[in-house]
């Protein structure tokens, strides 16, 4: 009997200590946590060339990667203080919600149900995209309207999967989805002949075509069947952190508009242009409003560059991905990229 009593008491003590410990993820503390930790935890893809892809030496590159680096530059003053976590489309939101990453930059489509229903905040769009189809040249098909009785490889847990069904339903065409957790697996399955069609956002098609055995054997069909504004996401319970990430992206766009680049940012410090002065934190209180140092925007441009520089280096026409600016051109040059005033 004595022994049992002691055991029960031990269990009780254990439970009591449990009650007074709460696991509640610290709301409104992401910035403090990042500073304390000394690095930004950033969720990226498992490898989409041009967006987030690790090379053989494990070095990450891409426009989503640049965004993460810009956040680190803004808050820690060093763009290299980022820890990248590759995530599948299926897991990405849960990992963000659980607090394992601070920001998710993983070509994620901004939708109402994700923004509202998942208690997340989309802080902007860093790539305007749309869903398309890739087929083998040998299939002799030149339009998505001609796809019928086809097997389509798709990544699961994506808006792509939902648009796919909408498109075939609306056009009264028959198809079979073959859904994979990783985009690499979906591409490999398509490449091996398991599917006749591979579908994802058009940027992803261009990027993943470079992964097929013979990229010249595949064509991307002209139709765009959906709107896919891709952007970074943060948890919905941290206003300050949402603002920091939102304005990091805006500063990169604004810098391109004002012609501030990695190369000329130092010389422009002595400019008389008030807009550039505000952008670089030489005038006004942009840093203070975000609880950051005044150098935050300068660090972004100096260490990472403006949006256009990042685009050209990662997905532009001169890269293997080879995407023209299109919608992702500045609003002043015929695109829809537009930053609210940095002031």
């Amino acid at each position: 009997m004595k022994k049992i009593k002691i055991n029960s008491f031990a269990i009780l003590a254990f439970v009591v200590t449990f009650i007074f410990t709460t696991f509640n993820a610290n709301a409104n503390q992401t910035r403090e946590n990042v500073i304390k930790r000394g690095s930004v935890n950033c969720g990226v893809s498992q490898g989409v060339p041009g967006f987030s892809n690790a090379d053989a030496s494990g070095k990450w590159a891409g426009i989503d990667v640049d965004f993460c680096r810009a956040v680190a530059a803004a808050i820690l003053g060093d763009a290299n203080k980022v820890k990248f976590t590759p995530l599948s489309a299926k897991d990405r939101f849960e990992v963000l919600k659980a607090g394992d990453i601070d920001v998710l930059a993983r070509n994620t489509t901004w939708t109402l149900s994700r923004d509202g229903g998942l208690a997340l905040d989309f802080i902007g769009t860093n790539f305007y995209d749309g869903q398309g189809f890739m087929v083998r040249k040998a299939a002799n098909i030149n339009s998505a309207k001609k796809l019928n009785n086809v097997k389509v490889c798709v990544e699961t847990g994506t808006t792509t999967e939902l648009n796919l069904r909408d498109y075939f339903k609306a056009n009264k065409l028959q198809y079979e989805p073959v859904a994979f957790t990783k985009s690499d697996e979906a591409v490999a399955a398509y490449d091996s002949g398991r599917c006749d069609v591979y579908t994802t956002d058009k940027s992803g098609l261009a990027a993943n075509r470079t992964k097929t055995k013979n990229p010249a054997d595949h064509i991307i069909l002209p139709e765009t069947i959906s709107k896919e504004p891709l952007g970074p996401v943060v948890r919905g319970n941290d206003e300050n952190w949402a603002n920091i990430t939102r304005w990091t992206l805006n500063v990169m766009i604004e810098a391109e508009e004002l012609g501030v680049t990695k190369a000329n940012v130092d010389s422009l410090k002595s400019t008389d242009n008030p807009a550039i002065k505000r952008l670089l934190g030489l005038e006004g209180e942009t840093g203070k409003n975000l609880s950051l140092g005044n150098e935050w925007s300068y660090n972004i441009i100096k260490q990472v560059g403006n949006y256009g520089e990042s685009y050209e280096a990662n997905v532009g026409p001169k890269t293997p991905v080879g995407l023209a600016r299109g919608l992702n051109q500045l609003w002043t040059k015929g695109g829809i990229l537009y930053s609210p005033p940095v002031r």
Partner: protein, 394 residues
């Protein structure tokens, strides 16, 4: 007995009471821990503005699933998607268990063969399949074997019956009209067999004559459904898979289609598990004392009688408990389906539906409860069977 009953009950009560207090305390603590976690989850969800509940099960899923035993499309509900996933899991588990058992028994018996080649080959089989990680075996079948099959337009066609290509295996579909008559026939033959079994036992005990019940049953189970089909006018239509060409894309339509993801899973699960079952079978047979066989012989039983009446019933007692574990493992291992895109409970529901709704806690709870229920049901059935064949002690 009468006299001491009062003393006994009071002692019993005391014992029960002193046993009850720590047990009640333990239950209380257990409930409290559950409540604490549930409450903590609720608080955390509220802090993140997340809604909870199972209402989403009634809303449209919006995604299609490539392989389903029931009618399903994107306009069906998430609840329906759950059913599709559940049935796909059960289908893989059923075929996996079926083939693993047959293979396991054959290999297990072969392990004891006096033929050197058969003996060593089955040894290699067991050591190979049980020592390689299951996920690698799934990948081997899926990525290496099934991916190296010819493309659709160059399909392997075997006897105009089986069509094999990279996108799946196709067989003709038999479509019965008035199929309920076949069902009546099966029911009728089963009833007859039960009756025959009863009289066979009677004859055995009264006249010491053996009636070959098994052979008669086999004959009846074919005969009655056939006769009933003729009476009911059952016709069979065979629907062959047809090659369809749409521009440069070829596709087989019609017939029954087995997708590569399903095949890879059934192959790997049954081969992997059969290696373990083979060892159980070997252990079961080796556990039977040599004297049992000799005793059977001295009673005048022939070889098959001694195997059927003496050896196997005793060996089964040793084989079944560990084999139950293997069946449970197989069912749970089928959740590796998610790795190759087979839409089972884990892939389609805990995967796709979860990421489309974000209802992680609810969906994981449902899926865990479902696997638990399936596993408990399998244990229940096999425990019942084990009890039925257990040694009756007198």
């Amino acid at each position: 007995m009468f006299l001491s009953s009062g003393f006994k009950t009071s002692l019993k009560k005391n014992l029960q009471l002193s046993n009850l207090i720590p047990q009640l305390l333990l239950i209380f603590i257990f409930i409290f821990i559950i409540y604490f976690f549930a409450n903590n989850a609720q608080i955390n969800m509220k802090a993140r503005n997340m809604t909870s509940g199972f209402d989403f099960l009634g809303t449209n899923s919006g995604f299609d699933i490539q392989f389903s035993l029931v009618d399903y499309d994107g306009s069906s509900s998430y609840g329906r998607a759950y059913l599709v996933g559940l049935l796909n899991t059960l289908l893989v588990a059923f075929f996996g268990i079926f083939f693993a058992t047959i293979l396991g028994f054959i290999i297990g018996v072969s392990r004891l063969s006096t033929n050197w080649i058969i003996n060593k080959l089955s040894l290699v089989y067991v050591e190979l399949f049980r020592n390689l990680p299951l996920i690698l075996q799934i990948f081997f079948w899926y990525f290496t074997v099934l991916r190296s099959l010819p493309s659709t337009e160059k399909s392997l066609i075997i006897f105009n019956f089986l069509i094999i290509n990279l996108q799946g295996f196709y067989i003709p579909k038999f479509i019965f009209t008035n199929s309920h008559y076949i069902f009546y026939g099966i029911v009728f033959s089963l009833l007859t067999i039960i009756l025959i079994k009863y009289y066979a036992n009677k004859i055995f005990y009264e006249h010491a004559k053996v009636v070959p019940v098994f052979r008669i049953s086999l004959f009846l189970i074919v005969l009655f459904p056939l006769v009933f089909s003729l009476i009911g006018g059952v016709t069979i239509n065979i629907e062959y898979p047809k090659l369809i060409k749409n521009f440069g894309i070829f596709n087989y339509l019609g017939g029954i289609k087995l997708i590569p993801e399903f095949l890879a899973l059934v192959f790997s699960l049954s081969l992997y598990t059969s290696a373990f079952i083979a060892e159980n079978v070997r252990a079961g047979i080796l556990a039977i004392n040599k004297g049992q066989k000799e005793a059977a012989k001295s009673l005048g039983l022939n070889n098959s009688q001694s195997l059927n009446l003496i050896i196997i019933p005793q060996a089964l007692r040793v084989i079944i408990p560990p084999t139950t574990n293997q069946y449970l493992n197989l069912t749970k291992n089928s959740s590796l389906a998610a790795a190759i895109g087979y839409p089972d409970l884990t892939g389609a529901f805990a995967g796709t539906a979860l990421s489309q709704t974000g209802k992680a806690i609810e969906i994981i709870f449902i899926v865990m409860m479902t696997y638990l229920t399936i596993s408990l049901l399998i244990s229940l059935v096999l425990n019942w069977y084990n009890k039925k064949i257990a040694l009756v002690e007198r």
